[in-house]
Amino acid sequence: MIRYILQRLGQSIITVWGISIVVFMLARLSGDPLLLLVPPEATKAEVEQIRRAYSLDKPLPQQYLTYVRGVLRGDFGTSLRFNEPALPLVLKRLPASLRLASAAMVISAGIGITVGVLSAARPGGWVDRFGKAFAMLGQSVPVFWLGIILILVFGVRLRWFPTSGSETWRHLVLPAAALGWYSTAAMTRITRSAMLDVLDADYIRLAHIKGLHPFKVITKHALRNASIPIVTLASLQFIALINGAVVTETIFAWPGMGRLMVDAVFARDFPLVQTAVFVASILFVATNFAVDLLYGYLNPRIAYT
C-alpha cells in the first residue's frame, strides 16, 4: 500500500511537470503579451525595455528554467496584469471555486443518483421517463440562458435568492443550480445503466431470496457494486466544475478560478495562466488519487500493487 502511494506520488509529479511544460509552451503561442501591456504610443525601445524587465527577451528554454526554479522555491512569478504575485491571486479564488463546484456536485449527484437508481428499479416507469426528460433538458439548455432565467425568476421576481456575490450560502443556490443541472444528466444516465447491469446479477437475486426489503437490496447490494463508474464520472465532473464554470461565474459574478484563468489567457498573462493551470493540475491529480484509493474501499477485489 505504501509502495503504491509512493509510486502514485512519483507519477503525479511527472504528470504535473508535463502539464507545466505544455502550458508554458501553449501560453507563448497565444501571442505577445507586451502588445496588450504597453500603451499604443510606446516606442519600440520602450517595449524592449519592458520586455527585458519581465525577462521575456530570453530564449524559451531559459525562461522555462527560470520558471521551474521559481516554482521549486514557491515563487510562481508576478502577474503581468495585476502586478501581484501570481500564486496568492489564484489561491484567493480557489475556495469560492471549490464551494461552487461542491454545491453543484451535491445537486447533480443527489438528483442524478436518486433518479438513476429509481429509473433502473423500474425501467419505463414514470420516474424513468420524467428523469430522462429532465436530464435531456439540463443538457440542452445553455447555462447562460438558464442562469438568466434563474436570476429572473428566483432573484428578481420571487426575491428568494441574491443574484450575485458569494458571501452566504444563499448566494450559492442559484449558481450551483445552474451549474449542477447540466451534470445531473450525465450522473443520471451513468447511474441508471450501472444499476441496470448490477440488478441482473445473481447476488441481487440471492439478496431477495434472503428476505431483504427491496430498498435494502438496492441501497446495500446494488448501489455499492454500481458505484465505481458513478464515482469515476463524479470525480471527472468535479474537476470540470472547478475550472470550467466560467459562464456561471460570469453571470452570477462569482469570484472563481474559471474566470480568472480565462481572463489571464486573454490578457496573455503568462505567469498567472501557468500558476492557475498548475494549481488546477494539482487538484486534478489529487482528486484522481483520492478516487483510486476510494475504488479499493468500494471494491475489495482491487488490489494496490
Binding site: 434472503k210 428476505g211 431483504l212
Partner: protein
C-alpha cells in the same frame, strides 16, 4: 401425531407460472403438483428450460416481474398457502422458512461484502439472533465445514475457491434454520470431487427435519442423493416416484430416454443414446402430449390430448402408453 405434522412440509398443487413476452405467452410451469416431506430430498430433473428453476422461484414468489406471473395454483408450506401471503409476509418466509442455493457460487455472492456479513445478513433481517451474531455466523460456517471459520468470515468471496463459495452459499441458506431448502443445480459449476463433498454436505443437512428440493439435470446426482424424483418436461411433471422405482422401471418414455442417455461405466462401447429432436419451442408447445414429437411410440391419441396423471401405485406418470418396466425406448 397431529394432522398438521402428518401433512407434507410442502404441497404444491396445479402451479402455473407464465411469462408474458412480446412474442407470446411462455408457460414455463404448467400445472405442476408435488409434495416434499420433512427430512426428504426430492430431486427435480429435466432439460434446460423445462421449468425447474421457475418452480423454485415460484415457491419463493420471486418470478422475474413484470413478465413472469404465477397464474394459478397453491403452494402450501406447513398449512399456509404462500401464494395468499402479502409481499411483506412473504419476505419473512424467504430466508427464514424457505432458503435457496443458487447454481453459480462465483456470481451469487456479493463481491464487495465480507462472507461474514453475507452469512449474517439473513439472521439480522429475520431477527434470529439470540446472543452473539458473530458466533451464529461462525456456527453456520462450521456446519458447512469451512476450515478456520472464525478468521475466514472477514474474507471476501474472491478469496474462496469455487467449492468453498458454494459452502458459503449453503451456510447462508441454513443460517436461519429453514424448513425447506431449494437447491438449484448447486453442483453444476463444481468439479466432480468437490461435487461429491457437496452432496455429502447435503446429506448431513437433511439430518433432522429439513426438506430439500434438489434441482439438477444430472441423474447420477439424483441416484446418489435423493429419496424421490420428479421428472419435468416442457413445464410439466411427466413422471414421479421413488428414485429406485423410477430408475429401475420408468413408465414414461422421456424418463427412460433420459436414463438411457447416461453413460455407464464398463458398458460396451457404443454410441450414447440420444433423444431425437429438440426440446419444444416454449412459445408454441406441441398439442397433446408435449413429448410426442420426440417419442418413438407416439400415435394419434398422443397427438390429440395430453394424458392426465395416472399411477400404478408406485410411480405417477403422464403417458398414454406407459412402458412396462422395460428400460428401453427402442421398439
Amino acid at each position: 401425531m397431529t394432522a398438521a405434522e402428518r401433512a407434507p412440509l410442502l404441497q404444491v398443487r396445479d402451479l402455473r407460472t407464465y411469462f408474458y413476452t412480446r412474442a407470446g405467452v411462455v408457460k414455463a410451469v404448467d400445472g405442476v403438483d408435488f409434495a416434499v416431506q420433512r427430512g426428504e430430498i426430492v430431486g427435480l430433473v429435466g432439460e434446460s428450460g423445462s421449468g425447474k428453476s421457475n418452480v423454485c422461484l415460484s415457491i419463493l414468489n420471486l418470478v422475474p416481474k413484470p413478465a413472469g406471473r404465477i397464474v394459478s395454483g397453491e403452494i402450501v408450506l406447513e398449512g399456509t398457502n404462500l401464494l395468499g401471503l402479502s409481499e411483506r409476509a412473504m419476505r419473512t418466509v424467504r430466508g427464514r422458512d424457505v432458503a435457496m442455493i443458487l447454481q453459480d457460487p462465483l456470481s451469487s455472492l456479493n463481491p464487495v461484502f465480507t462472507v461474514g456479513d453475507q452469512v449474517g445478513e439473513a439472521l439480522r433481517v429475520h431477527g434470529r439472533v439470540s446472543g452473539d451474531l458473530r458466533e451464529r455466523v461462525i456456527g453456520a460456517l462450521q456446519k458447512v465445514h469451512i476450515p478456520g471459520a472464525s478468521t475466514r468470515l472477514r474474507d471476501y468471496p474472491h478469496q474462496f475457491s469455487g467449492g468453498m463459495r458454494q459452502r458459503v452459499m449453503a451456510a447462508i441458506a441454513i443460517s436461519c434454520a429453514p424448513k425447506l431448502l431449494l437447491a438449484d443445480e448447486p453442483t453444476t459449476a463444481l468439479d466432480v470431487t468437490i461435487q461429491a463433498q457437496f452432496l455429502q454436505l447435503m446429506r448431513e443437512l437433511r439430518e433432522g427435519d429439513l426438506g430439500i428440493l434438489y434441482v439438477t439435470h444430472d441423474l447420477g446426482v439424483v441416484a446418489q442423493l435423493c429419496d424421490r424424483v420428479l421428472v419435468m418436461y416442457a413445464g410439466q411433471i411427466v413422471e414421479s416416484g421413488t428414485v429406485e422405482q423410477v430408475f429401475h422401471a420408468p413408465r414414461h418414455p422421456y424418463t427412460a430416454a433420459l436414463i438411457s442417455s447416461v453413460p455407464v461405466l464398463g458398458a460396451k462401447r457404443r454410441r450414447l443414446y440420444q433423444i431425437e429432436g429438440q426440446p419444444p419451442n416454449p412459445l408454441a408447445p406441441p398439442a397433446g402430449c408435449r413429448f410426442h414429437p420426440r417419442c418413438p411410440q407416439a400415435d394419434d391419441q398422443c397427438r390429440a390430448a395430453m394424458p392426465e396423471p395416472a399411477t400404478d401405485g408406485n410411480v405417477t406418470y403422464r403417458c398414454w402408453h406407459p412402458l412396462n418396466g422395460r428400460l428401453s425406448v427402442t421398439p
